[in-house]
C-alpha cells in the first residue's frame, strides 16, 4: 500500500515525501548495491565504513567527538543542544554547500544563509532523525572525500572550485549520489526560505534576494513548529 499526498483547494502545500529521496532508492555505486537503510543497518556496511574512515586520517568518524561551538555561527533564537557533525565535517559541509549554492555574485551564498549551522539545528529534529538524515549525510561526506581522494589525491574541501564542481557532477551521476546531494539541497532550500528564526536566511537575506515578503507575526520562542509537534 502506498502513501499519498493530494491537493487541497485553497490550501498551501504540505511537506511531501517526494521532497526527500525515497530511502529504498539509495544505492551507492561504490558499495555492494544494498539500499540506504540496509546499508546503514548492515554490520558489513558498518565495517566497510569503518575501513573507509580509517583510510582518511583527517576525517573523524565520531560525529560527536568534539566541541565545535566555535566553528559555527550562533543562532540567538534556537539552541543546538548537541552537535551532530564533527569539526572536520563542518568544514567539509561548508565547502560542499558553497559548491551547491555558491557565491557567484547573484544573491546569497550558502555561507550567507548560514546553511551549515541551520543543518546542525535541523539534525535535532526528530522527523529528520527518523528519516536517517544525520547518518546519511555524515556517511556521504566520507564517500565524497573518498571519491575526491581517489580522483585527485586530496579531500573535497582542499580541492579547487573547478575540481569540486567536477566531483559533485560525478557524484550526481549516480542515483545514490544524486539522492545525497538532493538531501543537502533540501536543507539549503530550507535555510534559504524558512523564517530566520530557525537559523538560516540570516537577516532575511534569502527572502530579500527573492523579493519575498515574509509573513507576520514570525515564529517566536515557545511558538515554533517543534513546540506544537
Amino acid at each position: 500500500m502506498k502513501i499519498v499526498h493530494s491537493k487541497s483547494a485553497g490550501d498551501a502545500h504540505y511537506l511531501s515525501k517526494s521532497e526527500k529521496p525515497q530511502i529504498s532508492s539509495f544505492k551507492p555505486h561504490w558499495t555492494t548495491g544494498i539500499n540506504r537503510r540496509d546499508f546503514i543497518k548492515s554490520s558489513l556496511a558498518v565495517s566497510l565504513l569503518a575501513n573507509m574512515a580509517a583510510c582518511k586520517p583527517n576525517i573523524s568518524s565520531n560525529t560527536n567527538a568534539k566541541d565545535t561551538t566555535k566553528l559555527i555561527s550562533d543562532i540567538p533564537t534556537v539552541k543546538i543542544e548537541k552537535y551532530t557533525f564533527s569539526e572536520d565535517q563542518h568544514l567539509d559541509l561548508d565547502a560542499i554547500f558553497m559548491c551547491l549554492f555558491p557565491d557567484d555574485g547573484d544573491g546569497p551564498s550558502a555561507n550567507d544563509l548560514n546553511v551549515t549551522t541551520y543543518l546542525e539545528w535541523a539534525m535535532s529534529d526528530e522527523r529528520n532523525i527518523d528519516d536517517g538524515d544525520p547518518e546519511f549525510i555524515a556517511k556521504g561526506i566520507g564517500w565524497l572525500n573518498q571519491l575526491s581522494n581517489d580522483n585527485i589525491g586530496k579531500i573535497f574541501r582542499e580541492a579547487t572550485l573547478k575540481q569540486q564542481n567536477e566531483l559533485i557532477t560525478e557524484t550526481v551521476g549516480s542515483e545514490a549520489g544524486k539522492n545525497w546531494v538532493s538531501i543537502l539541497l533540501y536543507y539549503v532550500v530550507e535555510a534559504l526560505t524558512l523564517d530566520p528564526f530557525y537559523g538560516g536566511n540570516t537577516n532575511q537575506v534569502g527572502w530579500n534576494w527573492l523579493e519575498h515578503q515574509g509573513g507576520f507575526p514570525h515564529p517566536i520562542q515557545g511558538k515554533t513548529y517543534r513546540d506544537f509537534s
Binding site: M1, K2, I3, V4, H5, S6, K7, S8, A9, G10, D11, A12, H13, Y14, L15, S16, E19, C99, L100, F101, P102, D104, D106, G107, R127, N165, I168, V172, K178, V181, S182, L185, Y186, V189, E190, L192, T193, L194, D195, F197, Y198, W207, W209, L210, E211, H212, Q213, G214, G215, F216, P217, H218, P219, I220, K223, T224, Y225, F228, S229
Partner: protein, 558 residues
C-alpha cells in the same frame, strides 16, 4: 475493574468545527448545558504564526502514523487502487479545519436544492432534490453573515441568488491591483466579474480584529481573529457564556443507544487514553463527513447491528468531493512597464474575484441540454516559498545545483508573477463514492479506520473542462504570457461532504429533514454530511448555515 468515568449534560456535540460550533453556541445560549468533545487541542490567535513549517509538518493536523484513511481511487482500468493517506485531516484543533480555510463564502443557489427537478437525471449518478428549499436556508445564510462575519459586496449578475438583505454586513476586504485588471478583462469578454465574499472580517467585531493583510491566509491560522473559524467566531464566546464546555483531546469512538435505538451517551478516550462516557439528552455528531459516517458505522448495538441509522444501508453513501479544476496565468514582469510590475508585486490585499456566468451552462455546442455548471474563484495561494523552491531542485528529472539552480529560483520569484484560479463544480454522487470501515487498518486507539472510495462521474470532468477553459480565456484577456488549466479527477483533501444524505425517505437517506438520524429521536448530524450535492462552490458557508438551522430544530424539541 476501574469504573468508567461518567459526565452528564443536556447536549453533547462531537466535533468543534463549522458543523458543531453553531449548535453548541446556540444551545448554550438558550441555557442548556453543552459539552463539546474535540479530538485536538485548544489553540488561539497567539499560537498562529506565519510559519511555513507549521503546515509542512502538518502541525495542528492529525499525523499519518496516528490516524489515516484508506483511500480507494479509480486506476483508469475500471478498478480501484488502495493507499493510506492523512490528506483528509483538515484541522485537529478546536475549530477544526475552519482555522485553516480560505473562507470563500458563496451561498448555494435555488437550483442547487432542486438539482434533479431542474436538470434531470444523469445515468450513473444518484442525484436527488433536497427536502428543503433555498428559501428555508436563506435566513440562516443571513445569520451566518452577521454572527460569524462575512465581508463582501453584492453586485447584480444573472445568477445572483435571492437575498433578504441588500448587502453583506462587512464591507469588502482591501483588493489587490490585479482585481482591476481582472474586471476590465472580464467585462471586455462579456462576463460579469464579482467581488468574492469571504468569511474574513474587514473591520473589528467584538474581540476579533480585522484582517491584518499579511498575505498569509488560506492554510495559515489567523492571528487577528478575522477569519471566521468556529472557535474564533463562536466557541470562544460560548465558553465564556458559562453553559458550554469544550473538552479537548477527546477521541469519541462509540455512540451508545438504548433498546429503542435512541442515543444515550458517547464514549471517548481522554488525553491519557482512559475511556470516559458522556450522557446527554441530545447528541450531535459533526466530525467532518468521512469521520461522522465512520462513527455511525462503528457504533453498532443490539438495536443498530449494522451501525446507527444503517437499517437501509445508507450510512456512508453518496459522499462527494469538490469537482472542478485549477488554472494559472503567468505574467512576465520584464514585458511590463514599471508601474504595472509594481502592481503585480503587491502582497497583502486579496484578489477576491469570481465568475458565476456558467453556474448553469446553456450551450448547445457543448451540452445537448442545460446542465449545472460552476464557479471560478480567482485567488492567491497562501505563500509557501520553501515548498515552491523544493520542487525546483529537479528539472526533467535532472538534479540542479550551483548557479543554475540559483538562477532558476531567482527567475521564478522575481521575473514573473503567477496568478491562479480554481473552478468548483458538483462532484456527482455515485455508488462508487462512499465511506465504509476498513477491515485491516486501525488508528492508534485500535478502532477501524474509514475507507474512502472516491469514484467520480465522467460528466464532472466535462463540466469542469468547459469552465476551466473560460478561466484560461480570462487570464489571456488579462495579458498573461502563459495561461493554462487542468481539471481534477482526484479528490480534494478538503471540501468533502455528503455520506449521510438528508431526505424524507429512510430508504434513500440517512438523516431526516432536520438532520436527525433516521431511526432515532435525539441523534443529529450537523456537519456537511447532510448535503445531497455540494453545489458549485465551497460548502463551508452552507454547512455553517445548516448547522444554525439544525440548532433551531433541536431547540424546538427541548
Amino acid at each position: 475493574m476501574k469504573s468508567l468515568k461518567v459526565i452528564k449534560c443536556d447536549v453533547c456535540v462531537v466535533g468543534s468545527g463549522v458543523g458543531g460550533g453553531p449548535v453548541a453556541s446556540e444551545l448554550a445560549k438558550a441555557g442548556h448545558k453543552v459539552i463539546v468533545l474535540e479530538k485536538g487541542g485548544w489553540f488561539n490567535e497567539q499560537d498562529f504564526k506565519k510559519d511555513e513549517m507549521l503546515g509542512r509538518r502538518r502541525v495542528f493536523r492529525s499525523q499519518l502514523e496516528d490516524e489515516r484513511h484508506v483511500l480507494a481511487e479509480p486506476n483508469g482500468d475500471g478498478e480501484f487502487e488502495e493507499s493510506t493517506t492523512s490528506q483528509f485531516w483538515g484541522g485537529n484543533i478546536v475549530g477544526g479545519a475552519s482555522n485553516f480555510m480560505s473562507a470563500y463564502f458563496h451561498r448555494l443557489k435555488p437550483q442547487d436544492f432542486k438539482l434533479l427537478t431542474t436538470f434531470g437525471a444523469i445515468e450513473g449518478a444518484n442525484i436527488a432534490d433536497w427536502p428543503i428549499s433555498y428559501e428555508d436556508l436563506e435566513p440562516y445564510y443571513t445569520k451566518v453573515e452577521n454572527i460569524v462575519g462575512v465581508s463582501g459586496k453584492i453586485v447584480n449578475h444573472p445568477h445572483l441568488e435571492p437575498r433578504s438583505t441588500p448587502d453583506y454586513p462587512y464591507p469588502p476586504l482591501p483588493e489587490h491591483p490585479i482585481a482591476n485588471w481582472f474586471d476590465k478583462a472580464a467585462n471586455k469578454l462579456g462576463f460579469h466579474p464579482l467581488p468574492m465574499a469571504r468569511g474574513i472580517l474587514s473591520r473589528k467585531k467584538d474581540n476579533r480584529n480585522p484582517c491584518e493583510l499579511s498575505g498569509y491566509c488560506g492554510s495559515y491560522g489567523c492571528h487577528s481573529g478575522a477569519k471566521a473559524s468556529s472557535r474564533a467566531s463562536l466557541l470562544d464566546d460560548a465558553v465564556k457564556g458559562g453553559n458550554c464546555e469544550v473538552i479537548t483531546h477527546a477521541k469519541v469512538y462509540h455512540i451508545n443507544t438504548d433498546d429503542k435505538g435512541n442515543a444515550i451517551s458517547v464514549n471517548y478516550y481522554d488525553i491519557n487514553g482512559e475511556a470516559v462516557e458522556v450522557q446527554a439528552k441530545k447528541i450531535i455528531i459533526a466530525c467532518y463527513s468521512i469521520e461522522s459516517s465512520r462513527l455511525l458505522l462503528a457504533s453498532t448495538s443490539k438495536s443498530h447491528p449494522n451501525g446507527i441509522g444503517n437499517q437501509h444501508n445508507q450510512i456512508g453513501k453518496n459522499l462527494h468531493c469538490c469537482a472542478g479544476g485549477t488554472g494559472h496565468g503567468v505574467f512576465d514582469l520584464d514585458k511590463l512597464p514599471q508601474d504595472k510590475q509594481a502592481e503585480l508585486k503587491v502582497r497583502g490585499p486579496f484578489f477576491n474575484r469570481a465568475l458565476q456566468d456558467w453556474y448553469t451552462i446553456d450551450d448547445k455546442e457543448a451540452f445537448d441540454k442545460p446542465v449545472k455548471g460552476g464557479t471560478i474563484d480567482f485567488v492567491f495561494d497562501p505563500p509557501s516559498p520553501t515548498s515552491d523552491v523544493m520542487d525546483m531542485r529537479y528539472d526533467d528529472g535532472e538534479l540542479l545545483w550551483g548557479s543554475k539552480l540559483k538562477q532558476n529560483i531567482k527567475s521564478k520569484f522575481t521575473q514573473s508573477k503567477d496568478f491562479k484560479f480554481e473552478v468548483f463544480c458538483d462532484w456527482l454522487p455515485t455508488d462508487d463514492c462512499n465511506v465504509t470501515l476498513d477491515h485491516y487498518e486501525t488508528d492508534k486507539w485500535g478502532s477501524p479506520v474509514a475507507k474512502v472510495k472516491v469514484g467520480f462521474h465522467q460528466h464532472d470532468l466535462k463540466v469542469a473542462q468547459y469552465i476551466v477553459d473560460k478561466g484560461v480565456e480570462v487570464m489571456k484577456g488579462m495579458g498573461a504570457d502563459e495561461a493554462y488549466g487542468n481539471v481534477w479527477s482526484d479528490p480534494t483533501s478538503n471540501l468533502i461532504a455528503g455520506g449521510l444524505r438528508f431526505g424524507n425517505d429512510p430508504k434513500t437517506s440517512a438523516l431526516d429533514v432536520n438532520c436527525r438520524v433516521h431511526g432515532t429521536n435525539n441523534l443529529y448530524v450537523s456537519d456537511g454530511s447532510f448535503m445531497p450535492n455540494g453545489g458549485s462552490v465551497t460548502p463551508t458557508f452552507t454547512i455553517y448555515a445548516n448547522a444554525f438551522r439544525v440548532a433551531d430544530k433541536i431547540l424546538e424539541t427541548m
